[in-house]
């Protein structure tokens, strides 16, 4: 039967339970006093690590006021589908990352909410702090703002200083010389080939890369317009000619043996980092790969610059990570929360220097103009591209993992690798995309 020992134990248990539930209430109550911003992004790998540390910094600085609760989802179509399906039923986050190239489709499917000028002003977000093209890309056909840019990410030319020096292509400032102009670039490739190295490695098996390089070369020509105002792809003979010129140039590198054909993405990077290839065209997101290898002493003297001007004027393909607030049907993000989110976006823009460690260029001009950024290598070597960056055509068919990217894999990739004549590839590309316009 019960004895004093057992009663004591039971009494202690009851006391402990009461104490812990009291503490829990206080703790939970305390936590409830601060707001939570539910955040979805698609940033994995090195980008994910960088963003996480930024989020942690934000949470530390805003303890007791607002905390970010972040979830990372799969990059690409799965992310955008999930956003679309959840906002349609009133679920979803308070803020999400969004590629600017996907905004047209996001607007059509009703996933994005408008960020009014008053809201922007209340949080200190000014359009003058961003490049005009970058800012405009986040707008809908109605001219309203649907997202705030965070960064500009683009393709650049990585180069091996030692190999370029051997071929006489390195200036005294350590930057390549004699690469501007298509004929000069081809001559430079020939000079590099003479020294026995593979001149240029490109992910030639990857449609996405084909698109980015093609779009860059296309837009460097005067008057080139991939999508006309009345939704026509490569409208008119001039645009077709410009497109064919760009693809023919890309094909010539493979035909002349300067660029290995059908090289997979990881292999193309390995060709460069192992020293077999003198130059490499890839996205800025591979900068951390180079930086980390260099830190371990496993990389030669390397550098990166903006893609050279092949034709009439400078231009580089770019896309932009931006922040958007979803349009949750029936469960809109309340006004107070929206203010917190926009304040948070402004904070991230002001602190985007550490985000630039991923190779990206901060979209926020004050950061790009700061001394700290000017000292950040190699980003400051290619940050000039931001002024002439060209973004994906504004179309529901364009953007990451879109029909335009698929068409690049179907036509530009075989066109560059010599499976299809460039003129043929361009005309098929044009009719494919035009046929999908609804």
């Amino acid at each position: 039967m019960f004895n004093n020992g057992r009663i004591a134990v039971i009494r202690n248990i009851v006391r402990a339970a009461l104490l812990s539930s009291a503490l829990l209430t206080v703790g939970v109550g305390g936590a409830l006093a601060e707001d939570t911003i539910v955040w979805w992004d698609f940033l994995g790998g090195g980008d994910g690590v960088r963003m996480k540390s930024l989020i942690d910094q934000f949470n530390t600085e805003h303890k007791g006021q607002v905390q970010i609760q972040a979830t990372t989802l799969d990059w690409g179509t799965p992310f955008y589908t999930k956003v679309q399906t959840s906002t349609a039923v009133g679920q979803g986050p308070d803020v999400m990352t969004y590629h600017e190239s996907r905004i047209p489709l996001g607007i059509t499917t009703g996933a994005l909410s408008v960020i009014t000028p008053e809201e922007q002003a209340a949080s200190g977000i000014k359009s003058s702090d961003f490049e005009p093209a970058n800012w405009k890309q986040a707008q809908g056909p109605d001219g309203k703002q649907y997202a705030i840019p965070l960064d500009i990410h683009s393709i650049i030319l990585y180069y091996n200083k030692d190999e370029l020096k051997k071929a006489g292509l390195l200036g005294d400032d350590g930057k390549p010389k004699g690469l501007d102009g298509a004929a000069n670039f081809d001559a430079a490739l020939a000079a590099l080939a003479k020294t026995g190295v593979t001149p240029l490695s490109i992910p030639t098996a990857d449609g996405a890369t084909m698109w980015r390089i093609f779009y860059t070369l296309f837009n460097q020509q005067n008057g080139a317009q991939f999508l006309s105002a009345d939704n026509k792809f490569l409208d008119g003979d001039a645009n077709i000619a410009d497109a064919t010129k760009a693809l023919t140039e890309m094909n010539s590198w493979v035909k002349n043996g300067y660029t290995p054909a059908k090289t997979e993405y990881p292999a193309s990077i390995a060709l460069f980092t192992s020293g077999k290839a003198a130059m490499h065209i890839n996205g800025v997101w591979e900068v951390p790969t180079m930086v980390d290898l260099a830190k371990k002493g496993q990389l030669f003297d390397w550098g990166a610059i903006q893609i050279p001007v092949f034709y009439d004027h400078a231009a580089t393909w770019a896309d932009s990570h931006s922040f958007a607030i979803p349009d949750r049907k029936g469960n809109e993000v309340p006004a107070a929360k929206r203010k917190e989110v926009l304040d948070m976006i402004h904070w991230f823009n002001e602190h985007s220097l550490s985000w630039a460690g991923g190779g990206h260029l901060p979209a926020y001009k004050p950061v790009r103009d700061s001394a700290d950024f000017k000292n950040l290598k190699p980003n400051s070597d290619y940050s000039s591209l931001a002024a002439t960056a060209v973004f994906d055509p504004v179309s529901t068919l364009a953007g990451v993992a879109s029909p335009v990217y698929d068409a690049a894999g179907n036509y530009l990739m075989p066109g560059m690798n010599g499976e299809m004549a460039p003129a043929d590839a361009i005309s098929q590309l044009q009719s494919d995309l035009q046929g999908q316009v609804q």
Binding site: T81, A88, T109, G207, P260, E264, A267, L271, D406, P414
Partner: protein
């Protein structure tokens, strides 16, 4: 052998009324099956009917649409991409179903000859690929077959004269993907076949060899007929599975000429999720569903009829 008529008394011609015990058995049966039936109806029957209804509409992925009869189907059969996807899927099924079944049987026959620890180790080795997720399988084979640095390229160079990006060469794409798929999934077939082989009593083989049967005769006259039900099962499972091929074809074809390499499920995925055309995608899904049902039933009936000779 005794027959039934010798041991049981003749049955009365009048049907007996159901005893109360029968009714309670009915109740028990209902209680046990109703939960499954409800879940099955909600999670399978209802969405399938909704999908068929969706295929008759012009609708986005989410949201209401307008009824437009069978025009989705008409458009589908005129769509070049549909036929590409259809023939790609059929080609893939041809390249993967029979080889993986036969290979599974071969390996099972071999493994069955081993004893004890050796058998366990060898069986584990053949089964190991099956436990890998598809993304890992994709990475392994992309790495091994990489045109620049892949370890298998020297072997390919012997046949093709040069290093080849196998997955970017249209004529080699499906065979390569089928090869990887067979490597990945054969282990499961091996298990099924071993179970079937173990059911054959060794006495039959003993008496056959005593009668002077050769190894081939033993296989063809004893093993093959007795294992026939398992073979039919494996073939049917594989057929249904490979008709639904998506992962490997999507992964290996990504960034390449996907309009030439895609399968049926990828067509559905693209139309539904990338192009936001829910009704059109649903019509493709209904067609695939019908194809799988027809082919698997046909195959099962044909094979079973042959086996029961």
């Amino acid at each position: 052998m005794t027959t039934i008529s010798e041991t049981t008394p003749p049955q009365p011609l009048v049907e007996r009324r159901p005893r109360p015990a029968d009714r309670s058995e009915w109740w028990a049966a209902l209680i046990f099956t109703i939960p499954f039936v409800i879940i099955y109806a909600v999670l399978f029957i209802y969405p399938t009917l909704q999908m068929i209804w969706l295929s008759l509409q012009k609708a986005p992925l989410i949201g209401p649409g307008t009824f437009n009869g069978i025009s989705n189907y008409v458009r589908l059969f005129h769509d070049r991409l549909f036929w590409v996807a259809f023939w790609n899927t059929a080609y893939f099924v041809l390249l993967s179903v029979i080889p993986s079944t036969l290979l599974g049987l071969l390996i099972a026959l071999g493994v069955n000859r081993l004893k004890g620890f050796a058998q366990s180790i060898v069986l584990a080795c053949f089964f190991l690929p099956y436990i890998l997720p598809v993304s890992v399988v994709y990475r392994i084979w992309l790495f091994m077959l990489d045109q620049q640095f892949g370890v298998l390229q020297p072997i390919i160079a012997i046949f093709a004269g040069t290093h080849l990006n196998v997955f970017r060469t249209l004529s080699l794409f499906m065979p390569a993907v089928a090869f990887v798929t067979v490597w990945w999934l054969t282990g499961f077939n091996v298990l099924l076949f071993i179970a079937g082989l173990r059911n054959i009593s060794p006495d039959i083989y003993e008496s056959a060899s005593l009668d002077g049967a050769t190894r081939w005769q033993q296989f063809w006259r004893i093993t093959w007929p007795l294992i026939w039900p398992v073979t039919v099962l494996v073939l049917t499972i594989q057929l249904i599975l490979q008709f639904k091929i998506f992962d490997q074809v999507y992964l290996f074809g990504d960034g390449g000429r996907s309009d030439s390499t895609m399968g049926m499920v990828q067509l559905i995925y693209r139309n539904a999720f990338q192009k936001n055309m829910g009704g059109y995608a649903a019509s493709a899904a209904v067609v695939l569903f019908a194809i799988i049902v027809i082919f698997s039933v046909l195959q099962y009936q044909l094979l079973r009829a042959r086996g029961e000779k």
